[in-house]
Structures are given as C-alpha cells and as structure tokens.
Amino acid sequence: MKLESIPITLTRCAKTFRGTRVLEPLDLTIGAGETLVLLGPSGCGKTTTLRMIAGLETPDAGGRVAFGDEDVTALPIEHRKVGMVFQNYALFPNLDVRGNIGYGLKIQRVSAAHVRTRVDELLAMMRLEAHAAKPITQLSGGQRQRVALARALAPRPRVLLLDEPLTALDARLRDALRGEMNALLRELGVTTVYVTHDQAEAMELGDRIVVMSAGRIEQIGTPREIYYQPASRAVAQFVGTLNRIAGQWQGGMLRTSGGAVPAGTARTTGAAELYFRPEDAMLADPAAAHLRGVIEQATFLGERTRLTIGGAAPDALLVDVAGRVELARGTPVGISIAPEALIALA
C-alpha cells in the first residue's frame, strides 16, 4: 500500500504553557516520504512538536506549520488529514476491532461496502483477520498496537504521526515489532514523524534523527552523523556511551595521564578534551599502545565484555571487547584508538 505523501515545514514554532516556555522557536523541514525521528529524554519538547504538527496544539504567535504549500497553522486536527498513533493507542472501547479501524472512513461518509473492503485490506496487512470482531479489551498489547496503526492508516492520511508507539510494550516484543515497523514504513512511503526516547528505535527507523533537549533542537542528522559526529555533549551523551580524554595539546598529540593520542586534525596548544566510543578502542600491547592503564573492572555482558580501565586518562575509560576475553583486575593494558574515531565536541 502506497500513500500520498507531502513535505512538512515548521517555521519559528515555539510553545509556552502557563508561562513556561516548553519549546524554543524551531525550524524544521521534513521531506515528502521521509521518516523523521524526534529523539530525546522526557520533557525535551518532542511530543509537543508532534502535537503541533498534528494540530492538537497551536504554536505561539509567529509560528507557522505548512503541509506542502498549504499553511495549516490555523487548521484544526479534524481537517488536517493526519494519521496519529498515541502512546496508549486510544482505541475506542465501545467499538470492536473492525469498528475502530473503520472509524475514520465512516466519518468521511464513505459507502459501507467501501469501508468493508478497506478494513479487510488493513486487517490482512496487519495480520489481524482472526481478531476482527473482538472487543478491544480482549487484545494483547501487540495486537492493540497493530489495530491503532491500522486505524490511523485506513483513511489514507498524508502524514503519519507516531507518539512513542512501542513504549507501552515489554522489551522483547518491542525489539520484534521494531523491525516490522521499519518494513511497514518503508513500504508505505508516507511522511512519518516518530517520537521516541529509545535510541535503538531512532537508529533503526529514522532516515534522519532530530535530537532534542530542554525545548531545543540539538542536532539534525542521519543516524551515522548523530552517532559519529555528535554536535554537542547533550547529543553525544544521550546516544550511546562516551569516553572522555582530558589533556594538553603538545606537538600534534593530546597528552594525558596514560599516554598520548594522535588527533586527525591539527591543533595548537592548550588544554582540550577528546571523546571516543567504547567499541572504537582496541586492546593493544602496552608498549606500543596510545594509552596505558590498568583494568579496574571487567563486566561480561554476553556478546561483549565491558572493561573499565583506570589510569589511562583522568576519567575511567570504558572499552568494549568481544565476549570471549577474560582479564583479571589489575592487569595492565594498552588502548589504541583510530584517529577518525576521536570526537571533538564544542
């Protein structure tokens, strides 16, 4: 099923609730057919942004929301033709599964025969045929999620908005559904805005990710850009784990307590910090490695072992190595880091 899709533009959209500014003026452009993920901790303003696109909140004066060429800022949600999936699904308890999925079509006064055909189509697509006549109280969490999706998609929306749709499910189910969600969004090709606080969902589902914090956009980029070139400390710390090396520039290298690391780009002098991800460091022979330290802790996590190494840099460093490694506390080790894996933050 392919849906018509349009680009979305937010211009200078801010939001104030009861005197508190929850969203600073932001500009955002979402391409037609793109899946954009709004990622951030709770309270960062991502849900508010989503609700502004939906039409459930109006931006403060001066803000503008456009779908394609149409200015929809003053248009209420009933007329925006968006499909929305809520965090707790908001399924209507007084209607059965069929009734829920067909609700949007009934509102549009589509003929009963057409409603039936379309609902059948969605039941098949979401593998819900067996549950079609059930009241929603008899559905499991995963089934409800699929009904909520089917309901949002039935009236052929031009924009799909998802507010943490997987958060209400338990972890194992969430992992399974994430892949299905990805496949579905690719197939639909509709402009999608997806809100989540889960990094794995953002990475897997987003064409681009918008990392938000405290009402501001911290960074917009592809998953790789966000992960390998975080623009700020907030972004870097929210996405994955980060190690910090603090030292002094000397002769093109950053000198620190356990050694020196060469940086890819030239620097002058003075105190500085460089960062790297735990999986980008390798254990090496202490004599030849960039940094030397001592193992303080080794945590076996199944597919990898996380080593906490002290003495190599002012802070303890976390290094991930493949699982089949056993190292005792107190073992001296060396760490090498590829220059391109070093991250400099503003």
């Binding site: 939906a54 459930l56 209420p76 949600i77 009933e78 007329h79 033709k81 968006v82 499909g83 929305m84 809520f86 707790n88 908001a90 399924l91 209507f92 308890p93 007084n94 609700y103 949007g104 509102i107 549009q108 109280t137 008899q138 559905l139 499991s140 969490g141 995963g142 089934q143 309901r151 949002a152 009236p155 908005l161 499910l169 338990d170 189910l173 399974a176």
Partner: protein
C-alpha cells in the same frame, strides 16, 4: 521461636513448660474472638432493626386484621382499596420521575462532561453550586420556589411545578457520576484519536463520549429515578390536591387511614422502588447520599503480551 523458650525440647511445642507464650496467644485470640462476636451482634441487631419493620408492614398490608395478625387470614383487599383510591398518585409519581429523568439527562449529561473536562476554578465553583440544593434543606428550596413562582397559578397548579423542584434536587446526582466517568484521562485521549481521524465535536460527542460515559449515565439515571419517586420534603410543600405524588399519598394514609391501608400503600412503594435499587446494587452504582466509589463493573481484560 519455641526453641528460644525451651531450648532443651525443640520438638515439644505443646509441652506444659511454655505457659507464657501459649497463654498470651490464647488471650489474644479470645480478645479477637470477643471483638468479632460483638461485631456480629451489632450487625445482626442493626439488620433486624432495619428489616423487621419492613417485613411487618408487608404482612400488615396483606392481612385481614392487623391487630389479630396473620392468624386472621391473608387478603388482597387492602391493596385493591389503595389502588382504586390512589392509582393516580402512582401514575403521577411515574410521570414526574420520567419527566425529571428526561430533563436531567438533557441538562446534566452535557454539564457533567463539560465540568469534568474543564478543571478550572470556575468549573469547580459551578460543581459546588449545583450541589447546594441537596446540601441545604429541601424546605428552603420549596419555599423559595413558592415565593417566586407561586403567583403564576397555571404553572403553580400543574405537575410541572413539582418536576421543576425534583430536577433541581436530582441534577447533582446525574452530573456527578457522569463527570466522574468523563474525568478519566483516557477519555481525552480517545477524543484526540477521534479528532485525528476527522471527527467534528458533535461527531466525537455522539460516537465516542456518550457511549463511553454510559456507565455514569446509567448510574445517574437510576439515582434520579429512585430519588424522584421517593421525594417528599420538596413535594409536600409544592403539591396541590390535584398533584399528589406517591409519597404525599403515603403521608395522607398514615395520618388518617387504617394501618392495613397504609401498609398496603407502602407495599406499592416497595414494588416501585425495589427493582431500581436492585439494579443499582447489581451494577455497583454510587448510591445517592453516600458518595461511595463504584465497584469496577466489568473486568478489564489485561492480557499480557503473549505473541
């Protein structure tokens, strides 16, 4: 614990060498038994206090001669007599109750929803205002109505005058349960969901809000009907010889007629209200004058994700 008291005989729990612990345990359990016994006595005595006169009046309404008791034989002539004399009061009570219900549904359900969804100071004030006719004595409300509308004799002499009094008195009992149901956070999300699918306010109200508020509406309706049928304080002051409701008729017969007739009339009253009360009990409805929470009618099937 026993081994601490008698370390030399760990297996002999009933040994007479442990009187302090056993005695204390016995004393505790007998104190508890005393309390339980006293509770039962009070409860059963209260039950008797409440139920015995009802049973007596039912029997009295069916016996030939109350003073001789059931030995004098059972008869339906008192019921017959009451019906011939007072059936109009029964019908009037039903009509007034029905009219009251219609008006409270039309005014109270929307108001309940609006007040539940507007958590402002003004809405709280309005809620408290609406409760005043119940908190303050019915006599005052009746006198007030007479003062203002007593002059419009067509209105004053009609049953509509009584309906008006009943509506003002029963409105909070419709507004409150409806507001309680509508206040759940889920309803607001449901409305947003419906709005996202294109439904206008009227469509949302009729297809989503009203069906999901049904438990509150039913609870309110039962309460309104029961209260209206039994209402006396207001009605006595407002009635005319042409507009006698059932409780007003009851007061007449208690004062002037044989006890058997009064009992028969009371039986009629029981017959009218009992089904309503049973329905309310069965649905776990918030009974008027108590403010108790509804028991959860209909279990929510919390399926664990088992895919």
């Amino acid at each position: 614990m026993n081994s601490l008291v008698n370390p030399t005989a760990p297996g002999m729990h009933d040994a007479p060498g442990q009187p302090p612990a056993t005695r204390r345990r016995l004393a505790l359990s007998s104190a508890r038994a005393w309390l339980a016994c006293a509770q039962w006595v009070v409860t059963l005595a209260t039950c008797a206090f409440l139920v015995v006169p009802v049973a007596m009046s039912i029997i009295a309404g069916l016996t030939v001669n109350y003073f001789r008791g059931a030995a004098s034989g059972l008869t339906l002539r008192w019921l017959d007599q009451v019906w011939t004399q007072y059936h109009s009061s029964v019908f009037l009570s039903l009509e007034v109750a029905a009219a009251t219900l219609v008006i409270t549904l039309a005014t109270g359900v929307p108001a309940g929803y609006a007040l539940a969804r507007s958590r402002t100071r003004l809405s709280r004030l309005i809620e408290e205002l609406l409760v005043l006719p119940v908190a303050l004595p019915g006599l005052a409300s009746a006198l007030a109505l007479l003062v203002v509308y007593g002059g419009f004799s067509a209105f004053r002499m009609s049953a509509a005058f009584i309906v008006v009094g009943h509506v003002v008195f029963t409105l909070p009992f419709m507004v409150r349960p409806v507001a309680a149901v509508c206040a759940s956070a889920d309803l607001r999300t449901l409305e947003e969901g419906a709005a996202s699918l294109g439904a206008t306010f009227v469509q949302r109200f009729t297809t989503i809000v009203l069906p999901n508020a049904r438990p509150g509406i039913v609870a309110g309706a039962l309460a309104v009907l029961t209260l209206s049928i039994g209402e006396f304080n207001l009605t006595w002051m407002l009635h005319t010889p042409d507009t006698k409701t059932l409780p007003v008729g009851l007061a007449d017969t208690y004062a002037s007629l044989r006890i058997e007739v009064g009992s028969a009339y009371t039986i009629l009253f029981f017959l009218m209200t009992m089904p309503l009360l049973v329905a309310m009990q069965w649905l776990g409805v918030d009974v008027p004058g108590t403010g108790s929470k509804r028991r959860n009618a209909g279990t929510q099937n919390e399926n664990k994700d088992s895919e």
